[in-house]
Symmetry: C2
Amino acid sequence: MYRTKTCGELRLSNMGATVTLAGWVQRSRRMGGMTFVDLRDRYGITQLVFNQDKDADLCEQANKLGREFVIQVTGIVSERSNKNAHIPTGDIEIIVAGMQVLNCAATPPFTIEDDTDGGDDIRMKYRYLDLRRHAVRANLELRHQMTAEVRNYLGGKSFIEVETPMLISSTPEGARDFVVPSRMNPGQFYALPQSPQTFKQLLMVSGFDRYFQIVKCFRDEDLRADRQPEFTQIDCEMSFVEQDDVLCMFEGMTKHLFKSIRNIELTEPFPRMTWADAMKFYGSDKPDIRFGMKIAELPAELLRGHGFAPFNSAAYVGGICAEGAAAYTRKQIDALTDFVKRPQIGAKGLIYARVEADGSLKSSVDKFYSPDELLRIKYLFGAGPGDLILIIYGDDAMKTRKQLSELRLEMGGRLGLRDKNSFACLWVVDFPLLEWSEADGRFYAMHHPFTSPKPEDVHLLDSDPGAVSANAYDMVINGVEVGGGSIRIHDSELQQRMFRLLGFTDEQALARFGFLTNAFRYGAPPHGGIAYGLDRWVSLFAGLDSIRDCIAFPKNTSGRDVMIDAPSTIDASQLEELNLSITAK
Amino acid sequence: MYRTKTCGELRLSNMGATVTLAGWVQRSRRMGGMTFVDLRDRYGITQLVFNQDKDADLCEQANKLGREFVIQVTGIVSERSNKNAHIPTGDIEIIVAGMQVLNCAATPPFTIEDDTDGGDDIRMKYRYLDLRRHAVRANLELRHQMTAEVRNYLGGKSFIEVETPMLISSTPEGARDFVVPSRMNPGQFYALPQSPQTFKQLLMVSGFDRYFQIVKCFRDEDLRADRQPEFTQIDCEMSFVEQDDVLCMFEGMTKHLFKSIRNIELTEPFPRMTWADAMKFYGSDKPDIRFGMKIAELPAELLRGHGFAPFNSAAYVGGICAEGAAAYTRKQIDALTDFVKRPQIGAKGLIYARVEADGSLKSSVDKFYSPDELLRIKYLFGAGPGDLILIIYGDDAMKTRKQLSELRLEMGGRLGLRDKNSFACLWVVDFPLLEWSEADGRFYAMHHPFTSPKPEDVHLLDSDPGAVSANAYDMVINGVEVGGGSIRIHDSELQQRMFRLLGFTDEQALARFGFLTNAFRYGAPPHGGIAYGLDRWVSLFAGLDSIRDCIAFPKNTSGRDVMIDAPSTIDASQLEELNLSITAK
C-alpha cells in the first residue's frame, strides 16, 4: 500500500502518530515560510504542512506541486492552531517529513470543486475529471448504497437474483430495439433487451417464486433530456400473488430505502389513487401530491350562454386554485399565460380570478358573468380571500387536463410547495388495459401485452375493450413515476385473446411470443411484478434535476459518449465478417 | 396471497393448523381409497392426502390431476403414519379439505426429476421446464448466494459498485467485439464491452479508490464447450496498491466465499508460483495442485546416444511419476498412449517404466539403456516400488510440457486425485509481459496492453521485450483459472511505449486509447485490479463440468438460444432505419 491512512480518517486522537497518505493536491498556499497543501482522496481532505525553516528542500518541492498532482507523503499528525470546523479532519494537520510525487498533472480544463467553472460539454468530455468532484461522486456512492439496500431487503424476503440474457431476439412491440448482428449466423441479429419481461415470467413458470435483478436495459429512441439509451431497472417478479401482495411487498421496500438511505421513517400506508381520479384531479397519471391544488371542472351549464365565446365552444373547462396568490401582478399572470400557451403545453389561453379580501371575485371575465355566478365558481374551488383561481379551456378534456397539470406543477414550484427534501409516495392503480391510437386505428397495450385485465372486466374484452381496467399499478414519488408493474396473464388462451386484440395474427404471435405461450401450457402459476427505474430513483433521492448526474458515464442527447467518442465507424473487414454493408442515406 | 405457507416449511410442530398451499403436482398415487399427491414449490415438497370415504367428489378431482398441474389446496396439517426421512417435511401431510386447479399442464416432454430422461437439446429448448428441476435451480441459488457474499465482502472493504456503460466503442485489440449499429448516427456502431477495463481505470483516475462491478461482458468468438458469448465478471480495481495488496485483498475474498458458501475454512496463505515454475513443473499456467505428480525433465546427456532415435532428436524429454500405478496393464497403457497421441494433444508417443517390487525398472526402452541408467531415471522422478513413470518427448519444450500437463491431469483423474469436494487454491505470478506471435511476426500483450512491466525489467523493454516480466497474476483453483489481473501502467509515457511495442502507430493508439492516455495526463494514481469469471467460479463450487448449468438461459455452441430462437432475422424496415443491408455470402 502507498498509504497507511486515508485523507478522511485522521482526528485529534491520532495526534503524534506517523502516517503515510496518498492523494491529489486540491490546492496549496504559501504563508510566511510555510506551505499548506490540501491533500484529497475519496474519503476526505487533509491539510499538509511544509516548513521552509525546518526543511527548505522539501518545502521547495512542495512549492512546485500543481493542482491535481498525485503525491505520497509521510509525516506526523499534529493539532491545528487554526481549526476548520467544516471538515471532519479540520482539527489536525500533517507535518510532512517526506514526499514523493507519484504522478504529475496537466492543468485541468475546469476546477475540481463542487461549484465548478466547467460547462456541461467540457465536463462530459473530461468525465473522469468531473467524477473527481465530490458532488458527482456522492451521487454514485448513493447509487451504490441504494442497490445494496435493495439487495438487502429483497434477499431478506427470499428473492433470488437471476441474470437473464442480454443477447435475445426482438421484444414485444418490436420497434426501438438495439440489434446486434451475429457473425456466426449470417443475416441474423440478436436484440438487446428493453426489459427482461418475458424471461422473468418464464422464471415464474420455472417455479423460481421470487425473482429480482438489477439490470441494464436498452431502448433506441430519440432521447429527451431525461432518457438514456441504456438504463438500469430493478426488475422483480413474484408467484402466487394478487395485486395487493405486490403493492405491500414493494411499499415495504420503498420504506426500507427511505429509512436506510434518507433516514426518513414513513409509517403510514401509501395512498392509492385510481388512474381515473389521477387524471381528473391532477391531469396526470403521476401526480405530485406533495401539495393539493386539485383540478376542479367547471360545469358547462354555469359557463355557457353568457357571451364569452371560448367557454361556449369548449368541451372542457377546468382550473386550479393557487392559495395566497391573489397578489400576483398583471406581469406575473401574463408570464403564466405565456407559459401555458407555449407549444409544448398548447393551451389557448388562461383565465384568472382573484379572490379579494372581502370575498368578492375580480376576474378577466367579469363582464360576462354576474357576481353570483362568479361566487359559484369561487365555491367550486373552495377558494378564500387571497387566493388566485386559474382556468383553462379546450376542445379535448384529456388534453386540457394535461395542460392544467403543467400549470399546477408550475404554480406548485412558484409557491414553494415542491421541496426536494419532502417526499410524497403514491400508488396509481386501475389503469386502462388498452389505449386507442387514432393514428393507427388500433389498440395498444397501456403497459404491455402481458398485463392481466381485471377479472370482473374480462367479459368486456370483445364488446368494449377500451373500458377494460387492468391489474396494473405505478409507484409515484413527488410526481415522478419511479416504478410500475402488473399482475400478468397466466392463462395461455387469455394471452392469445390479448394478442389478437392488439392486432397480432396468430402466426405473428406464435413467431414472437410462441415460447411464452407454449411455456404457459405446462403449468404457469398466477404471478405479477414490478420494475423500478434505478436512475430516476437515485436522482430523486439525490435531489437532481436530471438522471445524467447519477450515471458514471452517461450519453448525450444524440446517444453519444463524447469522452470515448462512441459510436464510431468500424473496419471494412469487421463489416465483411458480419455480412453487412452500409447503405448511403 | 394464494398460500399461507410454502411447501417446504411445515413440521410436526404445525400439527393441527389449517394451511393453504400452492404449487405443482410432482406426482400422485392411489392406494386403497386414498389419493396421495406430492405438491412441489421452490421451497420443498409436501404430501397431500385425499380420502375417498370422507369426500368422494374432492378425491375424484384429485384423481384427475396430471403432473405439473398448478393447484391451491387448503387442509389440516397431520402427522404421517409412514414418515419420509429423506425430506424435511417428511413427518407431516395435509388432509385436504378444499382444492382449486389454478392451471392445467400438458405432459412435459421430459420428467421433472433430478435424474431426468431429457436429453441436452430438448432440455435447452424447454429450459423453463429444465429450470424446475431441483438440481438446476440449486445451481442458480448458489450463484445468487455467491454474488451476495462477494458484495458483502467488498462492500465491507469500502469498494463501491459502479455501473460502466454497455454501449461503448471498440476495445483493445479490436477483434471479437459484438457491434451495435446506431440509428441516430448512421454508419456508426457501438461495441459491447469485452470487459470494463478502460472504464475501471478511468474510475481510478477519478479517485474512486476501490471499485467493483458484477457485470455482463461479451466476446464474439467461436465457442468451445465452456465458453458463452455473454459471460459475467466480478470486476475489481484499487488505487495506491502494489501487487501484494491486491493478492491479499482477493485471497481474503476467496477465503470468505469458501467459508460462507462451502463452509470450508482456508487458514493457510495461498501458495504463489511463478509462471516459469508452473510451466516447468506442471506444463500449464493453471496447475491443478490438488496432487503432486510434478513434471521432471530428463537431461539430454542421460538419454542421447543410446540408439533410441526419438530421444536422440528430441528437444525436450520429460515425464511424470504416477504413484502406485505400476500395475497398469498393457491395455491401460495403450489407452494412455492413444490419449496423448490424439490430435488435440498431439504427442508423438508415450514411453513407460514400471518400478517393480524389488526397485528395478521395467520399461518400454529397456533394451537401449543399462539398468544403472534406468535407475538414474527412477531417482530423477523420486519413484519407488509400485510407481509408473510416463515419459513424452518432442521438438518444442513448451508444447511437450503442455502434452505432459494433459497426461498428468488424466492420470490424476484416473487415480482419484481430483476430488470435486477438495480445493487447492494458488496464485500464479510473474507472467511474461509479452507473447511473440510467429504467425503475425509481432508481440501481443499476454494479459492486455495496460499491464505494468515489473519496474526492474523496464530497462529491457527496448533491448529484449520478450524477457520482461509483468506485475500480473492469476488465481487458480483446482486447475481452473478463476481470476486474473495486474498492476496497471499509470504513466502516460510508459503506456505509449507499450502501445508502440504492440505495433500500434501513435495515431492508432490515439484514436483507440486517446481518452485513457489523455486521462493519465491529469494525475493517475498507481492502481491495479483483478477480474473473476463468475460462471466458472460458480460451476467450480457447484461441482459442474460445464458453465452452462449455472446460467439460467445459456446459448449453445453456435451462439443460439434455442428456446427463444435467437438470433433471428429482422424486418427490412429495421435494416433500412439502421442504414444497413445484408451482403450475400
